[in-house]
Amino acid sequence: MRIRFAALALTVVFQFMLELTAGRVFFAPSLIPFMLVYLSENFESGWAIDGAFWSGLCLDMLLHQPLGASSIAFLSGMYVAGLFSDVSSGEGRGYLLSMTAIAVIVSDTVFILIASRPIGSGFGPVLLKVFPRVILTTVTASLVLSTSEWMTGLRSRKVTG
C-alpha cells in the first residue's frame, strides 16, 4: 500500500516537473491518469477515486491552477474509463493503453472547460491540443509498460536460473 502511494506521489511530483519544464500543461504527457488506471486495474479499484482526487488536488496546488479543477478532471476521466471497462472484456497492454487514452481525453477536456475563466470559455480549437497529448501519453505509457515487462522478465530469469 505504501509503495503504491509513494509511486503515485512520485508520479505527481514527476508530472509537476514535466509540466514546468516541458510545457505549461499540454506539451508533457499526462502520467497521472495512466498511473491511476494501472493501480486500479492491478490492485484496488479505490485508487481510481481516491487517487484521482488527492493527486489532482496536489497537482493544482503545485502548479497554481484553479484548486479542484484537476481533481474533477481526473475523476471524470476515471469514471469514463470505468464505463469503457464495463463494456469491454479485453486484457493486456492494449486494454490498459486504451483506458489510459480515454482517461486522458476526458480529463484534459474537462480540465480545459472548468479551469478556463469564465468557466467553459475554453470550448473551441484549444480542445484540439488534447489529441497530441493523448498520443504522447500513450507512447510514454507503452514505453513504461514495455520497460517494466522487460525488467520483470529479467528478474524472473534470474530467480529461475
Partner: protein
C-alpha cells in the same frame, strides 16, 4: 502483464457514493477554494508573525515604541511646515535667495554722513565678498558693496543718491525706481499713474535690474504725490532697515560664488 482486476467505478454502490462525494468536494473546492485558502493564508501569516516577530513587551520597548511614534508625528509636522514655508517664499517671489550663499558681517564703523557716507564691515575678499554684493539685515535691504579689501568691505546704503533700485509695491504691484533725495529720504519714482498704490504698501525689490534679488523688503509707502510732469506718481518710502543702528549684515554673494566660511 497480469491484469487481475477491473475498474469498478460506477458498478458498486459504495464506489459510486465515494465517487459522488469526492466530486462534490472537488466542486466545492473549485468554487470556494480561493476564499478559504485566502483566509487560511492570512490566519497562518498572522500566527507566523506572532511567533517570530512578537515583541518582548518590556517597558523599555514600549517607551521606545512611543518615542518612535512621537518622533514620526513631529517629523510629519516639520515636513508640513517646510512645505508651507516653501509655498510662502514662492508667493512672496523670494525665489533666488535660496541659490545664493551669504556671509555674515559686522559693521565696524561708518564714514561721515548717512547720505554720502558708507559702512565698513569686517568681511572682505578673502571671505569671498565681491563688489556689487548685496547687503541685507534682519529688517530689509541695506545696500551694496562698492569696494572690497582683504578683510574689510565698504557698503553703500540705499539712501545714497548713487544707488538706484528697481522696486515693486505689494500688493498693488506698481513698478518704479527707488531713488534717494538730497535730504536722505527715499522715493519711488516713475510709478504708473493708474496704479492703485496705497499708503502702507510694502516696497520690495523687483525682478528687474539684475543686481538685487527680487522680493527683498525695502520699506513701506508713506506718501503718494504726483511727479513733476504729472504723468507719473512719486511715492515716499520709509526704509525698513534702520541704517544708524544696523550692526549685523548679511552679504549675499553673487550666484554660483561659494563662500569661504
Amino acid at each position: 502483464m497480469a491484469i487481475t482486476g477491473r475498474l469498478r467505478t460506477g458498478q458498486k454502490s459504495a464506489g459510486s457514493r465515494r465517487f459522488i462525494t469526492f466530486t462534490i468536494i472537488s466542486v466545492l473546492i473549485l468554487l470556494f477554494g480561493p476564499i478559504l485558502l485566502g483566509g487560511l493564508g492570512s490566519w497562518l501569516g498572522a500566527r507566523f508573525a506572532d511567533i517570530f516577530f512578537r515583541g518582548s513587551g518590556s517597558p523599555v520597548e514600549e517607551k521606545l515604541r512611543n518615542d518612535i511614534m512621537v518622533l514620526m508625528l513631529e517629523n510629519s509636522i516639520l515636513r508640513e511646515e517646510a512645505l508651507k514655508a516653501e509655498q510662502y517664499r514662492t508667493l512672496l517671489g523670494i525665489t533666488r535667495t535660496d541659490e545664493r550663499r551669504a556671509v555674515p558681517a559686522r559693521v565696524l564703523y561708518r564714514s561721515e554722513g548717512l547720505v554720502t557716507g558708507t559702512m565698513v564691515v569686517d568681511k572682505g575678499s578673502e571671505h569671498g565678498v565681491f563688489e556689487n554684493s548685496v547687503c541685507i539685515s534682519a529688517e530689509g535691504l541695506v545696500g551694496i558693496v562698492i569696494q572690497t579689501g582683504e578683510a574689510t568691505s565698504q557698503v553703500l546704503p540705499i539712501t545714497s543718491p548713487s544707488v538706484n533700485v528697481s522696486c515693486v509695491t505689494w500688493p498693488s504691484g506698481a513698478y518704479g525706481i527707488l531713488q534717494s533725495s538730497s535730504d536722505g529720504s527715499l522715493n519711488l519714482v516713475h510709478v504708473d499713474l493708474t496704479s492703485d498704490v496705497r499708503n502702507g504698501d510694502q516696497v520690495l525689490t523687483s525682478r528687474y535690474g539684475g543686481v538685487f534679488p527680487d522680493g527683498l523688503l525695502v520699506g513701506r509707502v508713506t506718501g503718494i504725490t504726483s511727479g513733476e510732469p504729472g504723468l507719473a506718481l512719486k511715492l515716499d518710502v520709509e526704509p525698513a532697515a534702520d541704517f544708524e543702528s544696523t550692526g549685523e549684515l548679511l552679504i549675499l554673494l553673487p550666484e554660483d560664488m561659494p563662500a569661504t566660511e
